[in-house]
């Protein structure tokens, strides 16, 4: 299945886009698979991505989180609110 991974802030600026389409297995795909695909598609971001957290459906999620069709996945790099 295809998931569009959302990018924000400096990561989005460096990637030059606000989302990256990623293909993962329909069954049993986890956030770790999404991260591996992201690193493959955007190798020049790999170093930055290593320190980013991932969020699924608006909450931070661990690497073992199972991904389902329609999940909203986002890369949350170093934030700077306030």
């Amino acid at each position: 299945m295809r998931v569009d991974v959302l990018l924000f802030g400096p990561i989005a600026q460096r990637a030059g886009r606000a989302s990256v389409p990623v293909e993962v297995a329909e069954d049993g795909a986890t956030l770790a698979h999404v991260r591996a695909e992201l690193n493959r598609i955007e190798p020049e971001l790999a170093r930055d991505l290593a320190s980013c957290r991932l969020a699924v459906n608006h909450a931070f999620a661990g690497e073992n989180t199972q991904i389902q069709t329609g999940d909203e996945i986002a890369v949350i790099g170093f934030v700077s609110g306030g």
Partner: protein, 150 residues
């Protein structure tokens, strides 16, 4: 009796017009984060805030609820800007009411720390460029500022 709100609003936050707090509050503390006009050594016209809105709302609401419970607060109201906020304008406001001072100040510290770690909000400085704008009317005006709000 508790009260909680989280608002992410376009552009700068208006002056604080809070209404009276809940009965029983002995301490009401309002924190305003204001955009400073220097970023490092460079003058900036403002900060542009990008928010991942549904998640920012979710994270800030969860932190506000945790603060209410953890510190026994009566009220917590959070406002954060999205978009451009000019130097000198307010981009973040936190209002906390509690029975006593200690909880309000501790909760304020805790909330801001956690927000800065977890809320999906990013800021980008907008630098002044020569010729972009006329020089200030009074060039003698001292500007001892440093970085962005903390």
């Amino acid at each position: 009796m508790q009260s909680l709100s989280v608002s992410i609003v376009d552009a700068p936050l208006a002056a604080n017009t809070a209404t009276r707090s809940l009965a029983g509050a002995g301490a009401v503390v309002v924190f305003d984060g204001v955009v400073r006009s220097l970023e490092g050594a460079r003058s900036i016209t403002g900060l542009r805030y990008e928010t991942y809105d549904p998640m920012a709302q979710h994270v800030l609401t969860a932190l506000a609820q945790e603060a209410l419970d953890k510190f026994g607060l009566m009220e917590i109201h959070v406002e954060h800007s999205r978009g451009l906020v000019a130097a000198g304008e307010c981009s973040f406001r936190l209002r906390i009411a509690s029975p006593h001072r200690r909880e309000a100040l501790d909760a304020m510290d805790w909330f801001i720390d956690r927000m800065k770690q977890d809320a999906p909000i990013w800021k980008t400085p907008e630098f002044s460029t020569d010729g972009d704008a006329p020089p200030p009317a009074n060039p003698v005006q001292p500007e001892p500022e440093a970085k962005v709000p903390s």
